[in-house]
């Protein structure tokens, strides 16, 4: 296929061709950036919590007198534990996707000089790591002697803790974390075990805190650790257990208020946590579909016009020996050229828009592989859109040439 005659024909329709080029360029720029935003939302939703989500539920009670905390804990653990289908009940401060319960800045030294970030702390009573289903990769799980009471403030003065692999690397890059100590204020932590994953409660992609920056502090239940419970149940029974737990709690803990917002199964809490991400991804997908649709319609409209305008020329070409395939390929080549110009401009615009978004909205840099994918999508779209009008052009009979000359 010769490109030169196509180009010189386009010269006659500079303005219309320029408009399509600009439309394709803008579509390419928006497509790449929106696609990247969708991908980053979807990848955020893949967050590994490190716990057996399908077996776990979280319950939060509020409004009780702190003086009765021990009594309340005993009543709830016994009462919920007796429900059919429940495997165990533990007092825990929060769960992944649950309310944010404790973020503490930590340092490697007691003097507080070597600051290493603000991880989230999980506090739980004996058996909690096993109930969560944490996977140990080094060291040991806390034994009965490691669970201590909180005397003052929120934490035991000194405790033997579990940390995640990621956070261990953060504290001591390339070293073995077992047996090492770190501090938050006057409270000391000694690492006895490293777990594969345990995600933070409310992960914020753009925050300073990494998704797995967590520490598990073995604690005996009692103030301030009260009113928040982890239920482990048979996955098939979990939904029923969480519903029935409300009636059981109304009976055994009438003095406390059941928090309907925060108390739910982990799969539900997870879904709710990502609801905005999912909604935004859905919206972006909708925009992309509408955008590609509008662009395709624009191409169809303009090519149809060109075909109608050039009926006579097509007829002449057919009369002097061009095949249907030649006519078809002519319009396909023309579209390919226009879309290619659009893509060249669009790639530049995509990078420019991304730079702008990076500045205004702090989104990350657009990975370069989005550009060829976006270009390919638009080439395909252009060829699909042009097919109808091009086939109509190919169907123009040579006899048209003999009329009206």
């Amino acid at each position: 296929m010769q490109i030169k005659p196509v180009l010189s024909a386009l010269q006659k329709h500079r303005l219309a061709a320029l408009l399509i080029v600009l439309e394709i360029a803008l579509a390419c720029a928006v497509l790449c950036n929106a696609g990247f935003l969708i991908a980053s939302r979807l990848s955020a939703m893949q967050l590994v919590s490190g716990v057996d989500e399908s077996s776990l539920g979280f319950i939060q009670l509020e409004g009780f007198d702190p003086k009765v905390a021990n009594d309340l804990n005993a009543r709830v653990v016994a009462g919920l534990g007796a429900m059919p289908g429940v495997q165990s009940v533990h007092v825990i401060n929060s769960v992944p996707f649950g309310p944010q319960a404790g973020a503490f800045g930590v340092t490697l030294d007691q003097a507080g000089k070597q600051f290493r970030g603000v991880p989230e702390l999980y506090l739980g009573d004996p058996g909690t790591p096993e109930a969560l289903g944490l996977k140990l990769v080094a060291g040991r799980m806390p034994g009965a002697q490691d669970y201590q009471s909180v005397v003052e403030g929120y934490l035991p003065a000194s405790s033997n803790v579990l940390i995640t692999r990621t956070f261990a690397q953060r504290l001591w890059p390339g070293e073995d974390a077992l047996g090492k100590t770190f501090w938050t204020g006057k409270n000391q932590f000694r690492v006895i075990g490293v777990v594969a994953n345990l995600s933070v409660q409310q992960y914020d992609e753009e925050g300073e805190r990494g998704a797995q920056w967590t520490v598990f502090v073995p604690t005996k239940s009692g103030p301030p650790l009260a009113g928040t419970y982890l239920i482990r149940a048979d996955p098939q029974a979990l939904d029923r257990v969480m519903v029935e737990a409300r009636t059981v709690l109304a009976r055994i803990a009438p003095d406390a208020v059941f928090d309907h917002q925060q108390s739910d199964t982990l799969p539900v809490l997870r879904e709710r946590f990502f609801a905005t991400d999912r909604a935004m991804a859905g919206l972006l997908v909708g925009v992309i579909v509408a955008l590609l649709g509008v662009t395709a319609l624009g191409i169809v409209g303009l090519t149809s016009f060109w075909v109608a305008q050039r009926r006579k020329q097509i007829g002449i070409r057919r009369a002097i020996g061009a095949t249907r395939g030649d006519i078809l390929r002519y319009f396909q080549t023309e579209n390919f050229l226009i879309v290619s110009f659009g893509i060249v401009l669009g790639v530049v615009a995509a990078i420019a828009i991304n730079l702008l978004l990076m500045k205004v909205f702090e989104v990350p840099r657009l990975p370069l592989h989005y550009l060829p994918i976006g270009a390919l999508a638009l080439w395909l779209l252009g060829q699909l859109a042009v097919l109808g009008p091009a086939l109509r052009a190919a169907a123009v009979p040579p006899v048209v040439a003999t009329r009206n000359v």
Binding site: V257, R272, V287, V300
Partner: protein
């Protein structure tokens, strides 16, 4: 003449229905997307107290002694107890209100409704007139109630409906944790957007500020009474040391209280700024403060500083306008195709004596008509879009409605956009040389 052009436009639109439908659809979709996001932005970036906001100021001093990098540092978003009460008791402004939120359990002793967890706003009596809070029954408590730590409360319409079935509950008793308080006022439904008086910490929120658009508290209690009633349940904004008793922050090294002041004139604003600076200098001299920075931002300035418009909403607006741009290019292309196809017709008109301007006007009239029809479609689509927004899991979802101004803006935007889109093709059409076209006929 305009009527004639409109008639021509209608005929022309009817002649090529598919092309017309494509153009109307493109404009409708673009306008629908743009207006949906514009309406949301309009709601989110609106002034919650038009007319009064310029007289309301948020006062900040810096009670946090921790050293931070940089020469110029922002004071924390809230005040420590000592600074807050010092500034409030000085009564240097026309009106002043302390603000702190906390959670507590509430029951209505006479009813058998289950206990509720509520957010209680601890504030002072000026809060109600300052922020033009509307009352349905009763009114605010008195200044005397503030100083005497009276056990009184104002409740929201929502709570009044829940506990008392919407009756006049003034004089009835509400149990807040272990204290009985007498209801002195019931608010009308009140939904400032954002809930501006508790806005703080926006610069640490990474753009996720949808929470500012939640509903106001359900119960309002005099500041000092509230600190006693809900002792042990107060959350700090930030601390520079561990509080000795969790939830009791009166002597704790923490910032946790907001202070709003009303200042009626520029002179008063200047005087108050000076007062704040003087206070900070004095506290620094006494050794309680390390930093003498102060701030006094007006309401809109404070919202702006906190980036109150959520980033998702701003991103969606950008996206919608890029989309409208694509629809616009599309329409320009299609109009160009349409007008140039009728070159013969325009040639005849020109040959019969129509001026270039007349042909131009005819084409623009046609574009405007397409814009208007597209505007109707865009209006319907933006109603659909706002319905979708209302189904989103965001706190401001219930606010997303099209108001009168935005309704007219929809049509104005549609017509302006399509006239702009039509201008270039119309110009080309009006330049059609009559002779050349007539030769072909």
């Amino acid at each position: 003449m305009f009527g004639y052009y409109l008639d021509l436009a209608l005929r022309s639109l009817r002649r090529n229905r598919v092309l017309t439908a494509l153009m109307v659809l493109a404009i409708a979709v673009g306008i629908g997307a743009a207006m949906t996001t514009l309406t949301v932005m309009h709601i989110l970036s609106g002034n919650p107290l038009p007319g009064r906001s310029a007289q309301l100021f948020y006062a900040q001093v810096d009670g946090d002694p921790m050293p931070h990098g940089g020469n110029h540092r922002e004071p924390p978003d809230m005040l420590d107890y000592q600074s807050a009460t010092d500034l409030w008791t000085a009564h240097r402004a026309d009106r002043q209100a302390l603000i702190v939120d906390s959670q507590l359990k509430a029951t209505a002793p006479q009813s058998n409704k289950p206990a509720l967890m509520l957010t209680m706003l601890a504030t002072t009596t000026d809060f109600f007139p300052m922020f033009a809070v509307p009352f349905q029954y009763g009114g605010a408590w008195t200044a005397q109630d503030d100083t005497q730590r009276a056990r009184v409360a104002v409740i929201s319409a929502n709570l009044n409906d829940k506990l008392f079935g919407g009756e006049n509950s003034v004089g009835r008793t509400l149990r807040l944790r272990d204290s009985d308080v007498r209801i002195v006022g019931v608010l009308k439904p009140w939904r400032p957007a954002p809930q501006f008086y508790t806005v703080a910490g926006g610069r640490f929120a990474n753009g996720d500020t949808a929470g500012y658009f939640g509903r106001p508290e359900d119960v309002f209690v005099p500041f000092r009474s509230a600190l006693e009633i809900n002792d042990g349940a107060f959350q700090p904004f930030n601390c520079w040391g561990q509080p000795s008793a969790p939830g009791h922050l009166q002597n704790a090294p923490c910032n946790w209280i907001g202070l709003w002041v009303e200042l009626g004139s520029h002179a008063k604003v200047a005087a108050y700024r000076e007062f704040l600076d003087h206070y900070a200098q004095q506290q620094k001299a006494l050794g309680r403060f390390q930093h003498a920075e102060t701030r006094l931002r007006d309401l809109m300035g404070w919202l702006d500083f906190n980036h109150a418009v959520p980033r998702n909403a701003r991103l969606q607006t950008w996206l919608a306008f890029a989309f409208l741009g694509i629809c616009l290019f599309n329409t320009v292309g299609l109009l160009l195709a349409k007008f140039l196809r009728r070159a013969g017709e325009f040639g005849v008109r020109r040959a019969l004596g129509a001026s270039r301007r007349a042909v131009f006007a005819q084409c623009v009239a046609e574009a405007a008509l397409i814009g208007f029809i597209g505007g109707v479609g865009g209006w319907l689509l933006s109603l659909l879009g706002l319905w979708l927004v209302r189904r989103q899991p965001t706190p401001y979802a219930d606010l997303a409605h099209l108001d009168g101004g935005m309704f007219f803006l929809t049509f104005a935007l549609a017509v302006v956009v399509s006239v702009l889109a039509g201008a270039l093709p119309a110009l080309r059409a009006s330049r059609v040389p009559p002779a050349l076209q007539l030769k072909v006929l």
